[in-house]
Amino acid sequence: MAEFKTNPEILQPENVVYKRTELLTPKDLSYCPGCGHGTAHRIIMEVIEEMGIQSETIAVAPVGCSVLAYEFMNVDIQQASHGRAPAVATAIKRLFPEKFVFTYQGDGDLAAIGTAETIHACNRGENMTIFFINNGIYGMTGGQMAPTTLPGMKSSTSPYGRDVATMGNPLKMTELVATLPGTLYVTRQAVHTPSAVRKAKRAVRKAFENQKLNKGLSFVEIVSNCNSGWKMTPRQSNEWMVDNMFPFYPIGDIKVNDDK
């Protein structure tokens, strides 16, 4: 391998144009290279840093690929049992109404085993934020069918493709919670391109700022890839996501509050 030398000029503080947020711990992410979780973690932590609310934030991690989010998110954080993060977060927010409280959950956690907790926290209008990472598959356990797996999509428990006649339909949780009076802001974003990341980050910021309004729950879905589970390269998986996931899970705001 050719010797690689960094130009010392680049390392001068005045030349820094971007650096890892202090709110991500120095630990290596456990996610597969190419997965969207890392970017989703980053933008959430950057927003907390930019708002200066690290000491006012309490997070709840799920069960799934992001079960270890507590290793990476440098905020006080609890790891909930599978699907129950919204219940755990409900109590935290009720006991500390002045704190910023959020959950970070995957599709199996939020839209299958935790359906009741998700719907009821949304419907009660808990004044907190739910981040929902939807990659249409159970990643941590090795690629099984998720509640959000697309019709015809292959997984280890739908090896011939999801047959909706026998396996049921994918659940659009985000559209569902948008119908509930307790949600204030419901949006679906992605993190596969720089412009998508910028838009997603704006949504994350709005979701946190909404907690100051005390008017209900903010719900941010991030449609993401799972290159390992989908058995694709990272690039292929992002293209497949645009071609297949986005038509079924359209990107954009579903319910927007005017906080002005």
Binding site: T25, Q54, S55, E56, T57, I58, V60, A61, V67, L68, Y70, M73, N74, V75, D76, I77, Q78, Q79, A80, S81, R84, A87, V88, A89, T90, A91, I92, R94, L95, F96, K99, A116, E117, H120
Partner: protein, 360 residues
């Protein structure tokens, strides 16, 4: 100030929790314990002390709310009855694994399944042997009166925080529903932010620059660390066994025979003792107050004085296994149970003593 009231067991427990400085109650209705949440709601706890009372969408959500609140260093609790407590078991295992303090009340009804709404003691195994998955123990308190329903609220919180361990109050439908006079303790203040910071430095209350971020979890994917964590848990349980055994001895001084019974059964045994003694049978009662830790030592000591032990339980025979382990075969140990929601009569207990122990 202290106050003498006539109350139902469930209500006395609820009032005592408020007075113990509880920060949050999370529950779901189920007979025969719904009065706990009804009472708290009627009291407008948030106005009275700042305590949060929230009706959850399920017992599962409720116990996970308890996890969240306990992880913040707050005094939190839930209550339910047998089928609901079964639903909570996963959450209880997580709470035990993450070493969080909390209070859980089980007003036991007959089972299995949906069973009946009448009192029972058939959740002894579930309460003392684990209930959920993994090697863990709850501190289990067994009240036998409305007074103890109240007293164990404060005691339960104290032990929960002392050991960072969930405390289960194992009551039953009779104690929960019956009315007795009860002396209520003075109002304790809720924890201040300063106290939480000082007494529970592990609590998730917002990371400050002076410390690392706090993490509440029961997970460790490195088995060697998980084994070490289990060692620590076992060490804690041995300390609890060493320090926290509680029991009551009634009429044991000259006793030739002994009942071992807790909760409602223990109350009925007291009447049975009166009847038996009026017939010249010298029988006493050992009432375990803590079911874990179980009063093994005192039961073992009793075997040098009594000729036989009758375990009286509203179950098909659960606590008897712990009594047998303590007795180690030194004297006969028999079980007399009524179950499925049936409560013993004192006279049938005396008959059982005659037939199974004295005559046997």
């Amino acid at each position: 100030m202290k106050e003498l009231r006539l109350m139902k067991g469930n209500e006395a427990f609820a009032e005592a929790c408020i007075r113990a400085g509880a920060d949050g109650y999370f529950g779901y209705p189920i007979t025969p314990q719904s009065e706990v949440m009804e009472y708290l709601m009627a009291q407008k706890t948030h106005e009275r002390t700042g305590m949060v009372t929230l009706q959850a969408e399920s017992e599962i959500a409720a116990i996970n709310m308890v996890y969240g609140g306990a992880g913040c260093g707050k005094r939190v609790l839930t209550s339910s009855s047998s089928p609901g407590i079964s639903l909570k078991q996963e959450g209880i295992s997580y709470i035990a694994g993450a070493e969080l303090p909390c209070l859980i009340l089980n007003v036991v009804r007959g089972g299995p399944g949906l069973g009946t709404i009448q009192p029972s003691q058939s959740d002894y195994f579930q309460s003392t042997k684990g209930g959920g998955h993994g090697d863990y123990k709850l501190i289990v308190l067994a009240p036998a009166s409305v007074q103890e329903m109240a007293d164990f609220a404060g005691l339960g919180f104290e032990l929960a925080f002392k050991y960072r361990n969930p405390v289960l109050i194992l009551s039953d439908g009779a104690i929960g529903q019956m009315m007795e006079k009860v002396m209520l303790d003075v109002q304790k203040p809720r924890f201040t932010m300063e106290e939480i910071r000082k007494n529970t430095p592990w609590a998730t209350i917002g990371k400050t620059p002076d410390r690392e971020h706090n993490i509440i979890t029961s997970l460790d994917l490195e088995s060697i660390k998980m084994e070490q964590h289990n060692h620590e848990l076992q060490k804690k349980y041995r300390a609890i066994e060493e320090n926290e055994v509680r029991y009551e001895k009634i009429s044991c001084e000259d006793a030739e025979y002994a009942f071992v019974a807790y909760g409602t059964s223990a109350r009925i045994c007291q009447k049975a003792i009166e009847i038996a003694r009026s017939e010249g049978i010298k029988v006493g009662l050992l009432r375990p107050i803590t079911l874990f830790p179980f009063p093994k030592k005192v039961i073992k000591e009793m075997t040098s004085k009594v000729k036989g032990i009758l375990c009286v339980e509203m179950s098909a025979g659960q606590m008897i296994e712990d009594v047998q382990l303590a007795v180690e075969g030194r004297v006969p140990v028999e079980h007399f149970g009524r179950y499925g929601g049936i409560v013993h009569s004192p006279s049938e207990i005396v008959e059982a003593l005659k037939k199974q122990i004295i005559g046997g």
